[in-house]
């Protein structure tokens, strides 16, 4: 059985190597993948949306539907964990979720959490001008909650972020994203066409603000879902 698996892997490796010889050269600026649409995105990012970060413009404005679908995928993964694990019975909190009682980790964690959260807010709001955006910022805030759950204990960290808030916050993120698209639809444009938002600004600044709202929605969605998945895995689904 193991020999058969290794044989299949070897055959797959030979096929991939044979196909790899036909790939474009490494670092070639004239490769076909870099030709047609990506030039338009690079040239149009500042003109259309007043945003220097081309990747953020691309995922939130030019290809906004894909990101909406992805936020829904992440939220439904959180729902799947909830459906698989949650039970109405009560259980003990495992060792990982008990307070560690160690003075050094306690104080360092309590000092680091606000700093990381501030940096995460900076990452979300500066996604236009530097690498960053909603995914990174939301994941960073989720890591502060994970840190608190593991070092300060499950009970005490409920004051920072209660477990019951995880899934509704994820849903709120998806709702903000879809809501922005719906508002654009109400005011005459296509869905997720930010130039029809009723803010009274010139067209490229409207798209700038639309990208910001959408990134905030994505940050909420990612944060709520990651904390919800972690809480389900930590408690094993049973209520504390």
């Amino acid at each position: 059985m193991k020999a058969l698996a290794l044989l299949v892997l070897g055959a797959l490796g030979l096929v991939l190597l044979a196909a790899g010889a036909g790939l474009p050269l490494y670092g070639d600026p004239t490769a076909p993948a870099s030709q047609h649409v990506s030039d338009d995105y690079v040239r149009g990012s500042m003109v259309d949306a007043h945003t220097p970060n081309v990747v953020t413009t691309m995922i939130a404005d030019y290809r906004g539907f894909d990101t909406l679908g992805e936020t829904m995928v992440v939220f439904s993964a959180g729902l799947a964990c909830m459906l698989l694990l949650r039970m109405p019975e009560r259980g003990r909190i495992p060792t990982l979720g008990r307070p560690k009682g160690n003075v050094i980790t306690d104080i360092v964690t309590r000092a680091m959490i606000p700093v990381i959260q501030l940096f995460a807010l900076y990452v979300v709001f500066h996604g236009h001008y530097s690498p960053g955006g909603g995914f990174q910022g939301g994941a960073l805030i989720a890591t502060t909650v994970l840190l608190a759950r593991m070092v300060l204990g499950f009970e005490r960290s409920q004051a920072l972020f209660p477990t019951a808030l995880g899934t509704p916050l994820g849903l709120a993120g998806v709702a903000i994203y879809a809501g922005v698209g719906f508002v654009a639809l109400l005011f005459g444009g296509n869905a997720l066409d930010y130039s029809y938002l009723p803010l009274g600004l010139p067209k490229d600044m409207l798209r700038n603000w639309g990208i910001l709202f959408v990134e905030i929605g994505v940050a909420f969605g990612v944060m709520g879902t990651l904390v919800s998945i972690f809480d389900d895995l930590l408690t094993g689904g049973r209520r504390a």
Partner: protein
């Protein structure tokens, strides 16, 4: 530079799959994710590298450790 990072990533992946102590293997998988995040940064993809460092080396590592404390910590192969 990029070749060195590739070699470290391949070694980390191979060793993570061979260890029988799953806690050490989860730590090595975090190392793999971190080296791959450095690789993304070296190839000019700073957004993707940031995301991989936070999510791969941080959240996935923690989720793996939490799950393996609910199941077995040692594996047979």
């Amino acid at each position: 530079m990029i070749a060195l990072l590739f070699v470290v990533a391949i070694v980390a992946a191979l060793v993570a799959l061979q260890m029988t102590d799953l806690l050490a293997a989860a730590a090595l998988l975090s190392v793999f994710s971190f080296v791959v995040a450095l690789l993304y940064g070296a190839l000019g993809a700073v957004d993707v590298g940031f995301n991989e460092a936070v999510l791969g080396a941080g959240v996935t590592g923690v989720l793996l450790v939490v799950a393996l404390f609910h199941t077995r910590r040692r594996s047979v192969d």
